[in-house]
C-alpha cells in the first residue's frame, strides 16, 4: 500500500520488507515433584536419544510482512490473540532483529508495550524517570527540562519522590506512559496500553495521540478495540496467523474484520 499524495515530500518513516520472525519453542512436561521431574528428565533424555530432536519446535510468528507508513499515519493493527500484533511492533521497534527481511525506521522510535515493567522498585519515581528516560534515549538535560511536565501528566504529585514499589499498577502505568510520550518520538508504537487507566486518563492519552498525528509523527497502535481503530486511526492492518489478511483505510478494514468475527 502506497500513499500517492506527496510521494516526494513525505518519505516513508517506516518500511518493512518481507519480514519473518521465528521462535524456538520448548514444550515443558508437567511435573509436580522433584522426583517426578527427575524421572521425566531421564525419560526425556532416553527419548531424545531415540528421536533425535526432542520436544522443540520452530514457530514462525511473522511470515513475510511488508508495510510502509508515512509521517502523519496512525496505523491500527488488529487481529486475534496470537496473530502476531505484538511481535510485529517489537520487530519494528528493533527490540529484536527479524530472521529474514529488513526493517528501516527513520527517526526516534518510542514504544510502549506494557506499563512500567522496567521500573526499579527501590528507587523513587523521579529517579526512575531519569534512568528510564535515559534508556529510552533522552539526555540528562532533556529529562531535566521535561521532568515537570512528565510529573504533571502522570498526576503523581508528591508521590513522585516515593519508592516505585509503593505505587499502584495505575500509578506505574501513568508514569510509564508519561515518560514515553515525552520522548518526542518520530515513530510511536503502542500495544493495547491506552485501555488502562480511568476515563480521564484515557481522554488525555487520546488527545496526546491526536497531537502526535498533527505534528506528523507516525503511530502504530495494536488493539482489540475496533472503536479506537475507527476513531483514531487513518489506516489499519489485519493480521492473521502472522500474515497480512487485509490492509487499507481504517473504516474498511474494521468493517471487514467485524463482519468475519462478529464482534
Amino acid at each position: 500500500m502506497q500513499s500517492t499524495s506527496e510521494p516526494l515530500a513525505t518519505p516513508a518513516s517506516v518500511v518493512a520488507e518481507d519480514i519473518w520472525v521465528g521462535f524456538a519453542i520448548r514444550y515443558h512436561l508437567p511435573e509436580s515433584t522433584l522426583r517426578g521431574a527427575f524421572v521425566k528428565s531421564l525419560e526425556g533424555l532416553a527419548k531424545r536419544r531415540l528421536q533425535g530432536a526432542g520436544r522443540r519446535e520452530f514457530f514462525w510468528a511473522l511470515q513475510g510482512i511488508s508495510l510502509q507508513a508515512q509521517p502523519g499515519d496512525v496505523v491500527g493493527i488488529i487481529g486475534k490473540n496470537g496473530s502476531g500484533k505484538t511481535t510485529l511492533l517489537k520487530t519494528l521497534a528493533g527490540i529484536w532483529q527479524p530472521d529474514r527481511g529488513q526493517v528501516d525506521v527513520h527517526g526516534v522510535v518510542s514504544c510502549l508495550m506494557s506499563f512500567g515493567v522496567g521500573f526499579r522498585p527501590n528507587l523513587s519515581g523521579r529517579e526512575n524517570v531519569f534512568v528510564n528516560g535515559s534508556i529510552l534515549g533522552l539526555s540528562r538535560r532533556q529529562i531535566g527540562e521535561r521532568l515537570e511536565s512528565i510529573v504533571e501528566l502522570s498526576e503523581l504529585g508528591a508521590f513522585i519522590d516515593a519508592p516505585v514499589r509503593t505505587y499502584s499498577a495505575g500509578m506505574k502505568g501513568r508514569l510509564g506512559f508519561s515518560i514515553a510520550v515525552h520522548i518526542d518520538p518520530d515513530v510511536m508504537l503502542l500495544d493495547e496500553v491506552l485501555t488502562v487507566g480511568d476515563a480521564a486518563f484515557r481522554a488525555r492519552a487520546g488527545s496526546i495521540l491526536d497531537r502526535l498525528r498533527e505534528n506528523h509523527k507516525t503511530i502504530f497502535l495494536a488493539t482489540h478495540s475496533l472503536d479506537m481503530v475507527r476513531k483514531s486511526c487513518t489506516r489499519a492492518i489485519w493480521l492473521e496467523k502472522g500474515k497480512i489478511r487485509l490492509e487499507g483505510p481504517a473504516e474498511e478494514v474494521a468493517r471487514a474484520y467485524q463482519s468475519e468475527t462478529g464482534g
Partner: protein, 276 residues
C-alpha cells in the same frame, strides 16, 4: 568481526549517560533501604577479610610467618581483588534476563546492562583499594615509585573482568543454568587463586611446597586471577614491579576476552529479547 566490534563500542560510547545512570541506580538500588547504606561497599570486603583472617591466620596459624599486620593486608588485597571479579560475573550473567522489562520496551544496546553491573562493582573495588592504602599509610607503610604502575594493572584487570562478564552475560541469555555454573567456577577459582595462601616466598611468608616446582607455578599462573592478585600485591605491598612477561600475558588475555565479549554481543544481541 572488527566492524561489528567497532560499531558495538560506538553504540556504547553514545549511550555513556545511560550507563552512568544504570551504574548509579544499581549502587543506590542495592543500598537504599539499608541502615548503613553505601558503607556496605566497604564493610563487605572488611567482613570477608575478618573471616579469612580468623580461619587461616588464627586457626591455621599462617599469619605467624610474616610481620604482624602483613597477613591482614595480604588477605585484604586477595579478597577485594577476587570479589570484584566474582560479583561482577555473578551479576552480569543474569543482567540481561534481569532487565527483561526494559529490554522488551526499547532497542537500547543490550551491553549497557552488564557494563553497568561491572562499573558498579569496579567502584566498590576502587573504594576497597583506597581504604587499604589509607590503612597502610597510617601503619607506616611507605609506597615505592612502582605504585605509579597501579592504575595500569587496575585498567588491565578492569578490561579482563568486563570482557569475561560480557561473555557470561551472553551465555546467560541462552542458558538459565549459566548462573549456577558461574557460582561453581568461581568457587573453584577461589581455591585456585592466591587469596589466603602463598605462591611466592616474600617478606617472611613461605610459598607452599608445590610451588617450588616451576612447571606447577607456570600452569598456576595461567589463571589470570592469580596474575592480577600477585601484581596488585607487588605494587601495593612489596614495592616491586610485576614481571613484564606476566603483564603482557594479562594484557593479552584481557584484550581477547573483551574482543570475544563484544563480538558475541554484536552478533547475537538482536536475538536476546526472543529468549528472555
Amino acid at each position: 568481526m572488527t566492524a561489528g566490534v567497532m560499531q558495538q563500542v560506538q553504540r556504547l560510547i553514545r549511550r555513556r549517560e545511560t550507563i552512568r545512570f544504570l551504574t548509579a541506580s544499581g549502587l543506590q538500588d542495592l543500598n537504599r533501604d539499608k541502615i548503613l547504606g553505601n558503607l556496605w561497599s566497604l564493610l563487605d570486603p572488611l567482613l570477608f577479610m575478618a573471616v579469612y583472617y580468623l580461619i587461616f591466620g588464627v586457626l591455621f596459624e599462617m599469619a605467624g610467618a610474616g610481620r604482624s599486620g602483613q597477613f591482614m593486608i595480604y588477605i585484604f588485597i586477595g579478597v577485594v581483588g577476587f570479589r570484584f571479579a566474582e560479583v561482577s560475573l555473578g551479576q552480569s550473567v543474569t543482567s540481561i534476563r534481569g532487565h527483561r522489562g526494559l529490554i522488551h520496551e526499547t532497542n537500547v544496546p543490550k551491553a549497557v546492562f552488564p557494563v553497568a553491573s561491572v562499573l558498579a562493582r569496579f567502584y566498590d573495588f576502587l573504594w576497597g583499594l583506597l581504604v587499604l592504602m589509607i590503612v597502610m599509610a597510617a601503619t607506616g607503610h611507605r609506597p615505592t615509585l612502582y605504585i605509579l604502575l597501579l592504575p595500569v594493572i587496575i585498567l588491565i584487570y578492569f578490561v579482563f573482568v568486563l570482557g569475561v562478564s560480557l561473555i557470561a552475560a551472553d551465555i546467560g541469555v541462552f542458558f538459565a543454568d549459566a548462573s549456577n555454573l558461574v557460582t561453581v567456577i568461581m568457587r573453584v577459582l577461589f581455591y585456585a587463586s592466591p587469596i589466603f595462601y602463598f605462591v611466592r616466598s616474600r617478606g617472611g611468608f613461605k610459598a607452599m611446597g608445590a610451588f617450588n616446582n616451576p612447571t606447577v607455578k607456570t600452569l598456576y599462573f595461567l589463571n589470570p586471577l592469580a596474575g592480577f592478585l600477585e601484581s596488585l600485591r607487588d605494587l601495593l605491598m612489596w614495592g616491586t614491579a610485576p614481571s613484564l612477561r606476566l603483564v603482557l600475558y594479562l594484557t593479552g588475555v584481557a584484550l581477547v576476552s573483551l574482543l570475544v565479549g563484544l563480538t558475541l554481543f554484536s552478533r547475537r544481541e538482536g536475538q536476546y529479547a526472543k529468549y528472555i
